[in-house]
């Protein structure tokens, strides 16, 4: 076995270690057929994505754009997440130096992330110190973890694991939503996680708002380094649309008319255009014409007010 083959083998084994916990799958098999769904959030998002996929197939692939008054589009108001989603909870305490860099609402629940080293890239998969707070994540299986009494009176379940960047602590509790705090990159991850969890409070004001919307659908996912340097993304199979203050790599691209402006089509990758001071990029395994049509149909908000980034 040569180096490449060895690397492939190692990479695949690493990927296997990321398999989801079997709990949700086992639960789905035990439920009666009419109740099979992963969670209400999954149902909402899944239905919305399915609706968008129907609209997409009807409008983009066939070339007839769905109108708001047709039958399929009429489904959207009841199934589409709003452009703004309340994050529902906030930490009442964080270690010194941590600032918020990420918010999302989607199939993986509501997620907020803080770090001490903000950057323009998504905050995961790095060695940076990180605190995350998730609502309605993947709660199965935590009952076997070590129980711990939280300062707010709840019973939490904590687990410390050794990651590639050092130890990380995860604590899960019900409030009554299932909340999860994950901490890494600080001296005592367990104690810090317990302290953060004990100080988490309901928050009916903070929201995550998408700066990009397609056919009324926006599953907000936002990250950045500051209120003036951010990226907002939605994923609607089979494409991903991003609005960002940072330009994409246009190497190898060719001019294309999009949104009434000169944009760039990078073959096999994406269509990008600068519109009202922000970059819209539409990525997917689609033709140039399909990507352009999607880009034309997308609504963007160049000033979404991401004042929470970096604070």
């Amino acid at each position: 076995m040569n180096d490449t083959e060895q690397l492939i083998k190692e990479a695949l084994n690493r990927q296997a270690d990321r398999a989801p916990h079997p709990g949700p799958t086992l639960s789905a098999l035990r439920r009666p057929a009419r109740r099979r769904s992963r969670s209400s959030l999954f149902l909402t998002v899944g239905t919305a994505v399915a609706a968008a996929a129907v609209l997409f197939a009807a409008g983009v692939l066939v070339g007839k754009g769905p109108s708001p008054d047709n039958g399929a589009a009429a489904l959207l108001p009841t199934t589409t997440p709003s452009a703004s989603t309340h994050v529902k909870f906030s930490p009442g305490w964080l270690p010194d130096g941590f600032v918020e860099v990420y918010r999302s609402a989607g199939p993986d629940g509501i997620v907020r992330v803080w770090t001490t080293e903000p950057s323009a890239d998504p905050p995961f998969a790095t060695a940076k110190p990180m605190v995350s707070l998730s609502v309605d994540g993947n709660p199965e299986g935590f009952e076997t973890w070590e129980q711990v009494a939280l300062a707010n009176g709840a019973t939490g379940y904590v687990q410390v694991t050794q990651g590639q960047t050092g130890p990380g602590a995860t604590i899960v509790w019900r409030a009554p939503d299932v909340l999860r705090v994950t901490v890494r990159g600080v001296p005592d991850v367990r104690a810090t996680a317990v302290q953060i969890a004990g100080a988490v409070q309901p928050d009916d004001k903070s929201v995550v708002r998408s700066a990009v919307e397609y056919q009324g659908l926006s599953l907000p996912r936002v990250w950045g380094a500051s209120p003036s340097r951010w990226t907002s993304e939605i994923r609607v199979d089979p494409f991903t649309a991003q609005v960002s203050t940072d330009p994409p790599d246009l190497t190898g691209g060719k001019p294309v008319d999009v949104r009434g402006k000169q944009g760039t089509y990078v073959p096999g990758k994406y269509v990008a255009v600068l519109d009202r001071g922000v970059w819209l990029t539409v990525t997917g395994q689609l033709t140039e014409g399909q990507l352009v049509k999607i880009a034309n149909d997308i609504k963007i908000d160049p000033k979404p007010g991401y004042d929470w980034i970096g604070h």
Partner: protein
Amino acid sequence: MTPSFDDFVAAQVTPLLRYATVLTCDPYLAQDVVQEVLLRAQQRWDRIGAVDLPAAYVKRMVTNEYLSWRRRREAKNVALSTATLEHISPAVPDTSHHYDEREAMLQRIAQLPRKQRAAIVLRYYEHYTDSEIARELGCAEGTVRSHISRALATLRLEHSPEPAAAGLRVREGLS
């Protein structure tokens, strides 16, 4: 003796989820695929449980489900879904300096055409022979060798530069 469906699932759900995660490069999609397959298997367990190797049969159902899955993930999504994995499954111990290279390799594997990726997974994760892969994918052994050869050529080409970004630029220049 035919195993009960519950016993089968208890023994096989984790290996199936691991296999599907490798195959799809996406744990959420893997969960969907495995759940869908097991629900179908549950309904037909009288027949499936009676075959010689039910686990192999259901694994092939997972492979077929993946190959026919309509939802396509762009490479950019893979990077993010990898990132969100820490919310599903905490990182495992790893002190190897090859970490970044493996992550870069995963990105490249995720960009392979589906049948090439499936062939690579069956060869290097499941350690199947060419004939076993051919049976799994429903194609000739020669086709399997072609899939693997092309995939390795792509992965070798893109593996050669040190930084991941440089590898992407090489490919862009060639396309």
